[in-house]
Amino acid sequence: MSRLEISNLRVLFPTDDGLVKATNDVDLGIEEGENLGLIGESGSGKTVLGMAILRLLPKDARVEGVVRFNGRDLLSLREEEMRRVRGREIVMILQNPTSALNPVLTVGSQIEEVLRLHKGVDKRSARKRVVELLKMVRIRDASKRVRDYPHQFSGGMKERAMIAMALASDPTLIIADEPTKGLDVTVKREILKLLKEVTERKSMLFITHDLASAAEICERIAVMYAGEILEVAKTEDLLDDPLHPYTEGFLNSLPSRGLKPIRGIGPSLIDLPHGCKFHPRCDHATEVCMREHPPMLQIEDGRQVRCFLHA
C-alpha cells in the first residue's frame, strides 16, 4: 500500500523577477517501509518538494496538487490537523543541521520538546528517553551531552541529533534532506548505516545529490531536473541501465565514472525551455524534444521515464 502518493504537485513562488516554477506536476509514490531516493542537481527543487509535503513553505508559495498520506490529502487539511501530522507521523530532517538546530536551546531540550508534544510524557521520563535516543544514534556520553548546546557538537553529531529528534515520535515517514552533506567519508558511512537501520520499518524520502549515498540505502530512486521528475527506477536498474539522457549524464559526472559533467547549465525556473526541459543540454535531442513536452512513460514494472527516446 502507498504510504505517500503525490500527484500533480506544483509549487510556484511569485518573485519580483517573475514566477519561479520550483516543481512542475510531480507524481511520486512511496510505499510502506520503502526508502525512496530523490536525486538531482542543486536547485532542481528537491527541498521545495520535501517542504511542500509538510506544508512548511513560506506563505507566499502557491502549492497545487494532491499529497495523499495514509488516505488523507495533506494539502486540504486545516492547520491544526496538519500540526498533528507534522513531527508525529511525518518528520523532516532539514538540510543543514548547523542552522536547523536552535543555537540557544540545548540539544536535549530540543529533542525533549518532541516527546512532550507528541508522546504526552512527563518531563522526567522525557529526559530519560532523550538520553536513550542519543545513545541509539550512538552519541558517546549521551547522559552528559544532552545538556550541550548545538555549537558544542561536531557536524556528524548534529546530524545524529537531528536523526534522534526525528525518531523521538516514532513517525511512519521520514523526509531526510541531504543528511550526509559536508560530512567526511567515514562519518557519512556511519550516518547512512544508522539511517538504514532506523528506517527498517519506516518509509523515507531520502533527498540528496549524492547518488552513491542514495544507492546504498534506497530501494528506488527518482531523478529530478528543473522541478520535474525525469526518471523513476529500482536502484540497480537505474545504476546499470539509466534510460534518461540526463540520468546517464548524471552518472557519468560521478568521480567513479569518469567525472564527465553534463554540458551547459540548468535552466532558469522563471523562463523554462519549451518542450523537454532538458533538451538544450541533451546530446540526443531531436526536433520533437524542442516542440513537445514529453509525458511520463511507463516502462515495464514500476519503471518510468520522461523521454521521447523510449516512446
Binding site: M51, L54, L56, R83, R84, V85, R86, G87, R88, V91, M92, L94, Q95, N96, S99, A100, L101, N102, P103, V104, L105, E113, V114, L117, H118, Y149, H151, Q152, M165
Partner: protein, 315 residues
C-alpha cells in the same frame, strides 16, 4: 566565568584612570580662575589676599599633578571632597541625586519595556500589514518628537488641562505621582528604537532554518515564536536596553530639568552653572563608573542569553 569577570574588571581599570584624568583636568581647561570666580561677590572682585588664602585652603596652590593625585587618593577612599558652594561633602550630593535618578530610571525602563517589546513582537509577527505600519508610524513619532516638547505636551494635557498630575517637582521623596510624566517622557523615547530593533531582530530570527525545524515538529505558532524565535531575537535587544538604562542612569538632563527632578543630570547642570568644580569632577567620574559597570553587567547577561559566547569564555 569568574576568571572572565575579573579579567573584564582588570581591563576597566585603565579606562577609569583615563576618565578620572579627563574629569579632573576638564575644570582647568575652562576659562577663568576658579578661585577668582568663586570669590566674586556683588561688591566686586576679591582681594588678591583673599584669593591666595582660598587657594591654600583648597589646595589649589599645589602643582596640578599633586592636586590630581591627592584627589584620586581621596576618591578611591570614597571621599570626593567638599562642594565649593554648599561646603557639604560632594559624595552626599551625588548619592542623593543618584537615588532620585535611579528611581526615575527604573520606572522609565518599565514603561519602555512594556511599550516596546510587545509592539516590536506584534509588528514582526504581523509584518507588512496595517498593524506593522501603525507601529512604524508610532515609532517614527516617538523618535522624532524631542523629549522637551513631549514633556511640555504631557504637562499641558495631564497637569494643566486635566489637572490629574503635578506639573513638576520631587514631591514626597519622589513619589509615583511626580514620577509618571517624566517616566513616560523618558520611557517612550527609548521605546521607539527598542521596538524597531525588537521587530527586525525577531523577523531575522523567524527567517532562520531552526524555525522551520520547530514548525516541522508540529509546535504551535505561539511556541515557535515565543520560545524558538524570541529567545534568539532578545539577545541584541538586551544590549540596547542596557545602553538605554545607562543613559537614564547618567541623568536625562533635559527631562530632569523640565520636571524639576533632583537627579544626577540636574546636579551636573547646576554645578556647571555655579562653577562648583569639585561637584563637576566628582559627578562626571561617578557617571563614567556607572556606565562602565552597567556595560559589564550587560556583557555578562549577554553571555547567559547566548550560549555560544558563554562557552567561548569558559574555554
Amino acid at each position: 566565568m569568574l576568571a572572565y569577570i575579573s579579567k573584564r574588571i582588570l581591563l576597566i581599570m585603565p579606562a577609569l584612570l583615563f576618565v578620572s584624568i579627563i574629569s579632573f583636568s576638564m575644570v582647568y581647561l575652562a576659562p577663568g580662575d576658579p578661585a577668582e570666580i568663586l570669590l566674586m561677590s556683588p561688591e566686586g572682585s576679591p582681594s588678591p589676599e583673599a584669593i591666595d588664602a582660598f587657594r591654600v585652603r583648597m589646595g589649589l596652590d599645589q602643582p596640578i599633578y599633586v592636586q590630581y593625585l591627592r584627589w584620586l587618593d581621596n576618591v578611591i577612599h570614597g571621599d570626593f571632597g567638599y562642594s565649593y558652594m554648599s561646603e557639604r561633602p560632594v559624595a552626599d550630593a551625588i548619592m542623593k541625586s543618584f537615588k532620585a535618578t535611579l528611581k526615575l530610571s527604573f520606572v522609565s525602563m518599565i514603561v519602555s519595556i512594556v511599550v516596546s517589546i510587545p509592539l516590536g513582537i506584534m509588528a514582526a509577527v504581523k509584518h507588512n500589514t496595517i498593524i506593522d505600519d501603525l507601529c512604524r508610524f508610532g515609532a517614527l513619532i516617538g523618535v522624532s518628537i524631542p523629549n522637551f516638547w513631549q514633556a511640555f505636551l504631557l504637562i499641558l494635557l495631564f497637569s494643566v488641562y486635566l489637572d490629574w498630575l503635578p506639573v513638576a517637582g520631587y514631591g514626597d521623596g519622589g513619589d509615583l505621582k511626580h514620577m509618571i510624566l517624566p517616566a513616560i517622557t523618558l520611557g517612550t523615547s527609548s521605546a521607539a528604537v527598542t521596538a524597531r530593533l525588537m521587530r527586525s531582530s525577531l523577523l531575522e530570527a523567524l527567517s532562520q532554518d531552526y524555525i522551520i525545524t520547530a514548525r516541522a515538529k508540529g509546535l504551535p505558532e505561539k511556541i515557535v515564536i515565543g520560545k524558538h524565535a524570541l529567545k534568539n531575537a532578545l539577545i541584541p535587544v538586551v544590549t540596547i536596553l542596557g545602553l538605554n538604562l545607562g543613559f537614564l542612569l547618567n541623568g536625562a538632563v533635559v527631562t530632569e530639568w523640565i520636571f524639576g527632578w533632583p537627579g544626577i543630570g540636574d546636579l551636573v547642570v547646576d554645578s556647571i552653572y555655579q562653577r562648583d568644580y569639585t561637584v563637576i569632577q566628582g559627578s562626571i567620574l561617578f557617571i563614567a563608573v556607572i556606565f562602565v559597570i552597567l556595560n559589564l553587567i550587560v556583557d555578562i547577561s549577554y553571555t547567559y542569553l547566548n550560549p555560544r559566547i558563554r562557552y567561548e569564555i569558559v574555554d
